[in-house]
């Protein structure tokens, strides 16, 4: 048994840490949030140059053939820096689907660009009536006479849709609204006629969009994998996405409890540092304990997934539940112990908490996964 990082993993962690320290001060981040794009193309290029965009791509497809432990290491650090670039949705989630289902031509067209940073993808899976259920799909794709498909429907909270070159879209090609069978994935270039993107800034400073597909015609080569059987791929993308998001959240929670402990040591009230009050000490210990529990669960779920993807779903449900619950506990207390300062946009605290709350609603919130875990 061994929880130490390997030498390559340590180097990766160090290099991400250095990138955050150099490029991600809160001021710089907030000016990116206010920019039209919402992130930095220079940073994205840098990430590509450092090889981070190809780490989880198989060697056969020109990547490093890394696994979820590598993405965990990166995402934890990205969390600490509140990184805005769409690494999560483009590289981790969409990249995974493309590697799994893409044919040679599709990989040639898109995967190369993903690795070099020349293109970005996103994944459009959520629909309003579905809440968090991946199989509840109303967006329809109907075959036309020329071997293509016509897509109609609306997808919600599509992350970084406005800056992506194409979207992977889950569509119903057969079966009823709640059926796992009959769901098909398509790779839809963003500039096709009938694709309407209504983009906005989410609470955490990232970007999302409501995307409407109105009689959008795609060619036969937009089809990813086989018709009607994409659910297991979607499910796996969700699992990999959850592992990455929870790693990001764990990195954030580490900063939150540490920053709060240090603030209470500096801040004096009633003629002594706040940290000398027992009620404050115990609260900080609780925050620390709950953080460590998340870290353990993150390692458990990640290692189980790496060794046996099909047997890891209960651990992944438990992880998303625990991280969502703990995020609120640690975030609420970080603000409470910072008092008025915790309520401002001037410290990292508020921004960390906003990101944690947004992570909770991606790929199913805490309650949703607790119910799945209990089922």
């Amino acid at each position: 048994m061994n929880f130490e990082l390997s030498e390559t993993q340590s180097i990766l962690k160090d290099s991400v840490e250095r990138f955050i320290a150099e490029s991600y001060s809160l001021d710089k981040r907030q000016s990116l949030v206010k920019s039209e794009l919402g992130f930095s193309q220079d940073n994205w290029k840098k990430m590509a140059e450092l090889g981070w965009l190809s780490i989880t791509v198989p060697e056969s497809a020109g990547g490093f053939g890394g696994n979820q432990i590598d993405s965990m290491i990166m995402m934890e650090e990205f969390g600490k820096g509140l990184v805005l670039e769409p690494f999560f949705i483009s590289t981790v989630v969409a990249g995974q689907i493309l590697c799994e289902l893409g044919n040679e031509e599709q990989k040639q067209d898109w995967l190369t660009g993903l690795i070099t940073g020349d293109c970005q993808l996103t994944f459009a899976y959520a629909e309003e009536q579905a809440r968090f259920d991946l199989e509840d799909v109303l967006t329809r794709a109907k075959p036309d006479e020329k071997g293509g498909f016509i897509i109609d429907g609306t997808k919600s909270m599509v992350l970084y849709a406005a800056s992506a070159d194409a979207m992977i879209v889950s569509c119903r090609t057969s079966g009823g609204q709640y059926e796992k069978k009959g769901i098909t994935l398509f790779l839809v270039p963003k500039d096709l006629k009938g694709v309407h993107i209504d983009s906005f800034e989410t609470v955490d400073g990232q970007r999302a969009a409501e995307v409407r597909f109105e009689n959008v015609r795609v060619d036969g080569n937009a089809l990813l994998g086989e018709e009607g059987v994409a659910f297991s791929t979607i499910k796996r993308a969700q699992q990999i996405g959850i592992l990455a998001l929870c790693a990001e959240a764990t990195g954030i929670m580490e900063c939150l409890y540490k920053d709060t402990a240090s603030y209470t040591q500096d801040r004096e009230q009633f003629d002594r540092p706040m940290s000398e009050f027992q009620v404050i000490q115990h609260r900080l210990v609780d925050m620390f304990m709950e953080y460590e529990q998340c870290k353990s669960m993150l390692l458990r779920a990640t290692l189980e997934f790496v060794h046996n993807p099909d047997g890891s779903s209960r651990s992944i449900h438990a992880l998303k539940y625990l991280v969502g619950k703990t995020a609120k506990f640690i975030g609420e207390n970080a603000i409470q112990l910072h008092g008025g300062m915790g309520m401002t946009e001037e410290l990292n605290i508020a921004h960390y908490f906003k990101r944690l709350l947004t992570i909770d609603i991606l790929f199913g919130n805490s309650d949703y996964h607790l119910e799945k875990f209990a089922a």
Partner: protein
């Protein structure tokens, strides 16, 4: 023991209901005109525009039960927006400690809602430990005015305020509480600089206020020099009981149930989902209990007793419940709760979910952080010594 309203109280309740429905805002008509008129009509009912003011100052002189009925009815009806700073925070201080001249000068404008006040209490190093405040007021040699210098923070609506009631330091030796003076300072003058603080819900309501060489005439001092802490303390207790917001939470719970009920899940809705349903049920049970805590406290006051131990938990429990309501509203909003500022994405209640929740985190910080409140309960109610 009897919880039923008597005949007189029932007819008062009917009267209030009638007043509220007759004077509701008609869509399409001017809001501000309606607002000012509403207060005039309320005044003509015999002080209904200033329900909490004592009879001697034009208030209605209601019993605690009548206040409770008013709270309940107004939390369900549309009443015009109103600010607590002049009306419920400064006015009682003026009435108890201000001179006749100060009362005549300030109370009418407060009552007519024509002058806005803000509260200059907290400072960068005086939050929970308010008595540590350092904003300095020095009396001029001729004794005609104070020269004030310092910084106030978290000052709600300072940017629209005409006046600030301000705690200042006039004595730096001895007990911190015994060197504080209560001054009234006009905001629109050189030397007052208001800087917005954007809070994490994304909104601007609090500010930093820098006060530089501002001359305040001694006529603007409430009571005696160095006695301001005593005046302010009474006011803080007043602020705290008003923060429990229990009737409003009851109404908010009703809308939460409706909103969650509108979120479709298969053939049912979110209120059918066990995890969510149980959280709402837990909250409702707590709210039912705290509603009676408030009633016990009112009944106690009605019989002319000092506030009982139960009243000390009202702000703590009340704000905790308000926060849980905001949290559940955010959770009900699901994926749309982070879509602030959008007009057409998901259900409308959902989009403000996260920002509402984030703003609600301040409830357990302002007006005395919960940790400090618990210290007060431990010491004053349970008699525990440090």
């Amino acid at each position: 023991m009897d919880i039923n309203l008597n005949q007189e109280e029932l007819s008062f309740q009917a009267d209030v209901k009638e007043f509220l429905s007759e004077n509701a805002h008609q869509p399409g008509t001017d809001y501000n005109e309606w607002r000012l008129n509403w207060f005039k009509v309320a005044a003509s009912k015999g002080g209904w525009d200033v329900p909490k003011w004592p009879e001697a100052f034009g208030g209605p002189g209601w019993s605690p039960t009548q206040h409770y009925i008013w709270e309940q009815e107004t939390s369900r009806a549309q009443t015009p927006w109103d600010l607590p700073f002049g009306l419920s925070m400064l006015a009682p201080v003026l009435m108890n400690y201000g001179s006749k001249e100060q009362q005549d000068r300030f109370l009418p404008d407060i009552r007519n809602r024509v002058v806005n006040w803000c509260q200059g209490y907290s400072e960068p190093n005086a939050g929970s430990d308010l008595a540590n405040l350092k904003t300095k007021a020095t009396l001029s040699e001729d004794g005609t005015h104070y020269l004030v210098n310092g910084t106030k923070v978290w000052t709600t609506l300072a940017h629209i305020a005409d006046w600030m009631f301000c705690l200042t330091r006039t004595n730096e030796t001895g007990k911190k509480q015994e060197g504080i003076t209560f001054l009234l300072i006009p905001m629109k003058q050189d030397g007052i600089e208001v800087k917005p603080i954007i809070t994490l819900g994304g909104s601007h309501s609090v500010n930093m206020v820098h006060i530089t060489d501002v001359k305040v005439p001694v006529e603007n001092r409430i009571g005696e020099e160095n006695k301001g802490w005593g005046y302010a303390k009474g006011l803080l207790a007043h602020e705290r009981t008003g923060l429990a917001g229990i009737s409003r939470s009851i109404v908010a719970l009703e809308s939460l149930k409706k909103q969650a009920g509108s979120v479709k899940r298969g053939n049912g809705n979110l209120m059918d989902e066990p995890t969510f349903k149980l959280k709402v049920a837990e909250l409702e049970a707590d709210l039912m209990a705290v509603e009676y805590t408030e009633l016990r406290s009112l009944a106690n006051a009605a019989s002319g007793n000092e506030p009982g131990p139960e009243s000390s938990i009202l702000k703590l429990k009340g704000t905790e419940i308000q926060q849980r309501l905001q949290r559940l509203t955010m959770e009900a909003g699901g994926i749309y709760s982070s879509a602030w500022g959008m007009s057409n994405v998901g259900p409308s209640f959902a989009r403000s979910g996260m920002s509402g929740y984030l703003s609600s985190r301040a409830f357990t910080i302002y007006g005395g952080a919960s940790e400090v409140q618990k210290d007060v309960v431990a010491k004053n109610v349970l008699g525990l010594k440090k």
